[in-house]
Amino acid sequence: MLRTIDWTIMIVYFVFVLGIGAVLKRYVRTSTDFFLAGRSIPAWVAGLAFLSANLGAQEVIGMGASGAKYGISTSHFYWIGAIPAMVFVGVFMMPFYYGSRARSVPEYLRLRFDEKTRGLNAVSFAVMTLFSSGISMYAMAKLIQILHIFDAPFAWLGLPQAWIFHFSLVISALVVLGYILLGGLTSAIYNEVVQFFLIVAGFLPLVYLGLKNVGGWSGLKATLNPTYTHSWLGMGSAHTNRLGVEWFGLTMGLGFVLSFGYWCTDFLVIQRAMAANSMNSARCTPLIAAFPKMLFPVLVILPGLIAIALPRQDLTGLAGTHAAAAVRGEGLVPAKVDASGKPILDQDGEVQLDYDLATPNMLLHYFPTGILGLGLTALLASFMSGMAGNVTAFNTVWTYDIYQSYINKTGSDAHYLWMGRMATIFGIALSVAAAYMATRFNNIMDMLQLVFAFVNAPLFATFLLGMFWKRTTGHGAFTGLLSGTVAAALHHGLTLPQGGIPGVKGGWLAIMHVYPSEMAQNFWTAIYAWTTCCLVTILVSLLTRAHDEKELVGLVYSLTERPTQRGLRWYQRPAVLAVVVLAATALLNIIFR
């Protein structure tokens, strides 16, 4: 299926990725160079990396899948679930992250609160990043297998096809290891920027061809049910839209708690802004990222919509083409099949579709040899940069917040640089282990992700109170976080999505409420966790001794000088960028209402 030209493109890309690392190696002299890119990254580079670090497997494949399943409402994950939070972190929170000179998010918690709050955040974050990077690797190896990318070369070399999965895992791990060991965070950031342009280059022609084929946006509207092509239609009630969530759960749960919790506190993305070359660049980083983010639904969601809008057809030569699956699919989306090749049915007797194959099948359907190599390279690049983002965040948190804080406090800078490289090696080794765990124990992975969701849900309440209310204390933050996590677990244990079986889906304590969809349950779990954390933090803070105000200068809003915007051109001012991006997002919501 793939020819020499496709392989050439792929190989040229891999050579470049490692080459960038090799060139950057000579600039890595101190631990700050390795972990924070020497705080020398220009705003636009940091901004694109901020966007790309989050653009892993889940994004490109997952958003295409959601596009095919839920339609254009999926763009709420961008317009509601990302843009406002990206604006907020840039305008209001970055002055404390960057201004405090903290080297990581847990270190900010140490400066603002106390050691135990940092420890809790550092350890949970470190474990979480390893698992996410493992899951990302697993998804990539699986996809390579399904798309039959290495089938021909393996057959030619006389190697068993079963090794393709292992080979894909190991080779991606080695490439990521190679360029991070060489160039540290700078290398990861540079490759993320390359990957950003590559994704655009690979997916723009795909969307162009797809749209042309179905007769443009108006053609899609004519073919599909209106619930697919309107993002706000039927949002008044959870039962009248495709997502199965009502507007309040959507805006509060996704738009406020989950989105702010991720974009404003997750070190994976914040690290890119901390590496920026000035306070103003750091503040502009998420704002610059917001512009392409706002438009990304075109690249990642539309392919899914087009895939489902095409007429039912013979899927021979595409992925997931079991004879039965091909017949029962919808557009380019094949049916899920069991081991015997029969389509899997849901409770209502409807065929379940394998939405994850929507985007990959679009590539195979529209791209001839040549540009197909480019499209697949873009896909692989997105997997690897997602992985690399996790690994660079892990090695920093491990070295600064765990190793330097609890194991060896008095090492030289060269020692910590060495430790960072070691952490990269064992971080990647552990990710590979996590990937294999995912192949063996799917349930354990589901449960772990659930636990991470419980830990993450309340986080933003802690940061919000910490940054904007000087009375918040360390004891308050710590107990708030713990009780928020417990509240999330309890809420999950007491509720169930419609049609779910008690267990990992919820309801493992008792069933007090049934949500119309899993998404609604997730959003409400987050809302309860956030509210509990907020209330408990306030209460405990008022009961415990306040921090000395002198210690909080530069860490809390009311005790910190506002960063000046004087002497900057209009397009360098965070406030201006923020207003423009928010207005444009509002406009998009109106157009696609």
Partner: protein, 65 residues
Amino acid sequence: MGLDIRLPIGFLFSIFGVLLIAYGAMSDPAIYQRSLGININLAWGIIMLVFGGVMLALGRRGTKL
């Protein structure tokens, strides 16, 4: 940081552009049935080459952004 990121991006996209243009010019038109009869390799190759060239030019002049 020593290396201007626009240089590697410029090189990479120029190489991809040249590869796609060359392949697009030589390949059998029958393979473009799937891309709606458009020689997408040639067309997109030209766009990538132009983009790569612009990046190289900006990077070499060291234009500040």
